[in-house]
Subunit: 464 residues, 2 copies
């Protein structure tokens, strides 16, 4: 399967001229703006598009894609710019369609517990909008990402253990396809057996099959009560086993984050805390007052069994936040470890029964390689991040970090895990996609070629 | 998009000869067996395949598909024969691959709460196998369907309101594709952002894109306690509103079934009961003893608000079964209504906020058309069935029932619902698929053409 990335410069230039006429001052070639749209929070080179179009409606997106299709011009959809595997770079030039002005809530149905939004709205803006309705959108990847971007990378984060990932909460989408036609992938019914699941084909496709212009999302009732707590364990293994036992006991834990010794050390330094430098779990429970109390107490008993005598929890928001302080500061504590360095957050996910082994081997590998990197895990899903603090000017260190990352993926794959739990493939992981999926990638390529025969939608991602 | 259904008889015959050599006495042209494999529980004509192959391994399936691909012979995958929209018929002849001997549990991981099974195992056999592990597989479509068949029709049933549908519990699949190659759609990690979601593309594809030969499923802890109960409401609307309020309150109701007045009347006649002939909800709660008590009491309070003073519930299994008697007997009570008639269970699904309106209008339409049909709903999902008892020899009645079904689908679509919540498209609903999905069907057809260019996998379904 050949995905042609030899774009004709003249065709792209023609498309840009036509786009400029169509969009007027919502079309720009400003270098700073272009660079921002190629920007990504990883350490990949910035590869800006040739131009940026600010879309304000589905019709805008459809027109832009039609123009690009007519002249074979690459199209990259842009939301909030928080993806980290190079999803937004434009290695073959072309146009970035900025969706951030398409940030409206189009409908809220409290009875159905659904909302329909435009793709550019951020999760924080959505939750601010929803607050008075008693509903909330639970998926929390950390960054204040756009909903369209979160859907496109199949994002998840801290609450996935209870509420699922973007694949579970996107009920339907409107999307502009590579020929500029607009489709809906599903109706608003909670379930359907009608046809191929185009919704979940677009979710996680990183903008390579279509551009989502509306999303209907499942939302949830704001929990009547939230309890949060923290406890330390004698080992990563004990912490992971406690989580497995909790899930097996049917306790609907809402968040469940592992911080390793190095992460706690970083937090102590950054936030002037004096936490015990031990593997630590930060947990949260959602429900009625009696139910969160029951869940917290049951969890405390399980934690005790696995060597944690110290489970402290509270339903008081201030106290909860204090207990979770280390988790909240986790990323910035890692950033502060080595001033002037950049943090690259890698991401793998394994069956939870293999998680302890995977984290322990990874810690040993880091030590053996002379790399210092805290580990933070969405441990209820078997997903963890290694926050590599890297001196990008140090070629030897960068090479070691690449070797480390490759071995981390190999380790996850050898445990029947995946090369990415929630960050996606982008520009960095195509080689791992093939290792993980084998011949299945051929069928992905067939789908790509069928739906985007000119390869104009986010070319160069997924290795396509 | 042209899906060629002009199969060359000589090619099919050659494939059958080669299959016969390869499979020996596991290949048959026996008429009774062929008819059984075209059998389906709806009232469509039986269209048997030319032959049946009994597969015992993935290699068998791969070989059979390779032979069929080489000579362009249609292939229909067969599990337990319980699909109801004609998914198993072979309108262009060819071979049915019977997967019922591939019925092994290949792996159980209590730590990960996953099992890996062959597609021919039935859900009851799987649950019997799991009983001692403390785990269970929750999806319950009524029939003792095969897991592969349930995945292929994106089945769900009574517990979907809590545990989701097959799209939510199939974590990964091994599948034989149209060229005979075997792929895995995902690893066993709980979540992944690696590549297009081939798992959910195969789930619901009704065997038109590939044949699943292994499935890794999420399973759940057997609830420590189950409470079940029943209550009547002054109207369908009141019952639906009570369910909406229950879900909005965050009560994790595990089953939630609506029986309309006609269904209760049928049950009274069939089971010699004297239930009040009112819209009735049968509900179930799963959890710890204190949690099911809390859930049941909260539900009782909500039911009272909506005019049901009578919520009776119990955690005693015998008492629970007695309370749920009407629901358990529902289908057979409908069958018994008119001896000698066949029951066709239609299936639509709408946003729950529109459910009362949809059921009420449907009841009125039935009455206006002189059709008598009980209504049974998985009301927490907005999904309901109309159990049409039809005299298949009465052409006028059959015509009325077709008109009724068409209007039912139109009604569901006008309410942003779907033409099928859980039965699938098969041979009966292709025309509705186009109405529901519009141009999106073109992209489904492109995917089909890309993955099965010879159109050998279950041709004639989905309208392809």
């Amino acid at each position: 399967m050949n995905h042609d990335t030899n774009f004709d410069r003249a065709g792209i230039d023609t498309a840009l001229s036509v786009l400029q006429q169509r969009f007027g001052d919502r079309f720009t070639r400003n270098e700073g703006i272009r660079r921002e749209h190629g920007h990504n929070v990883s350490m990949l080179y910035n590869q800006p598009p040739d131009a940026v179009v600010f879309a304000e409606s589905t019709a805008d997106v459809a027109d832009a894609v039609k123009i690009c299709a007519a002249h074979r011009c690459p199209v990259v959809a842009f939301g909030a710019g928080s993806s980290i595997e190079g999803q937004l770079n434009a290695p073959f030039g072309g146009v970035s369609i900025d969706l951030s002005r398409m940030n409206q809530v189009l409908a809220v149905s409290p009875g159905d517990m659904t909302v329909t939004v435009q793709p550019g709205i951020t999760r924080e803006a959505l939750n601010a909008y929803l607050r008075d309705t008693g509903l909330f959108f639970p998926i929390d990847p950390g960054a204040n990402a756009s909903i369209g971007g979160m859907a496109s990378t199949r994002a998840s984060g801290t609450t996935a253990v209870r509420y699922g990932t973007m694949k579970d909460v996107v009920l339907a989408a409107e999307a502009v396809m590579a020929d500029g036609r607009t489709i809906r992938t599903a109706r608003r019914a909670k379930k359907s057996s009608a046809g191929y699941d185009l919704t979940r084909l677009l979710v996680g496709a990183e903008g390579t099959l279509g551009i989502m212009t509306e999303l209907t999302l499942r939302v949830f009732g704001i929990p009547e009560m939230i309890s949060g707590g923290v406890c330390t364990f004698p080992s990563v293994r004990a912490a992971c086993e406690a989580v497995m036992a909790t899930i097996q006991a049917g306790i609907p834990i809402a968040r469940c984050e592992l911080l390793d010794e190095n992460q706690i050390r970083a937090c102590n330094a950054y936030s002037k805390l004096s936490l015990e430098e031990q593997p630590t779990l930060c947990v949260e429970f959602h429900g009625s007052p009696s139910s969160v109390a029951e869940q917290s107490e049951l969890f405390g008993e399980i934690a005790l069994e696995y060597g944690s005598p110290s489970f402290e929890w509270s339903t008081d928001p201030d106290r909860r936040n204090k207990l979770w302080r280390a988790r909240h500061d986790g990323y910035w504590a890692a950033v502060a470890l080595r001033p002037g360095c950049e943090v690259y957050s890698t991401d793998v996910c394994v069956p939870i029964s293999r998680l302890a082994e995977c984290v322990e081997e990874t810690q040993k590998d880091l030590a053996d390689m002379g790399l210092f990197a805290p580990i933070l895990g969405h441990v209820g899903d078997g997903n963890f991040h290694v926050l590599l603090s890297l001196d990008t000017a140090n070629a030897a260190e960068m090479k070691r970090s690449e070797e480390f990352s490759a071995r981390l993926v190999e380790r996850a794959l050898s445990m029947d895990g995946t090369c990415t739990g929630e960050h996606g493939i982008g520009q960095r992981k195509p080689k791992y996609l093939r290792k993980e999926m084998g011949d299945a990638v051929d069928f992905m390529q067939s789908i790509k070629a069928a739906l985007d025969p000119q390869n104009i939608l986010n070319p160069g991602k997924y290795g396509f």
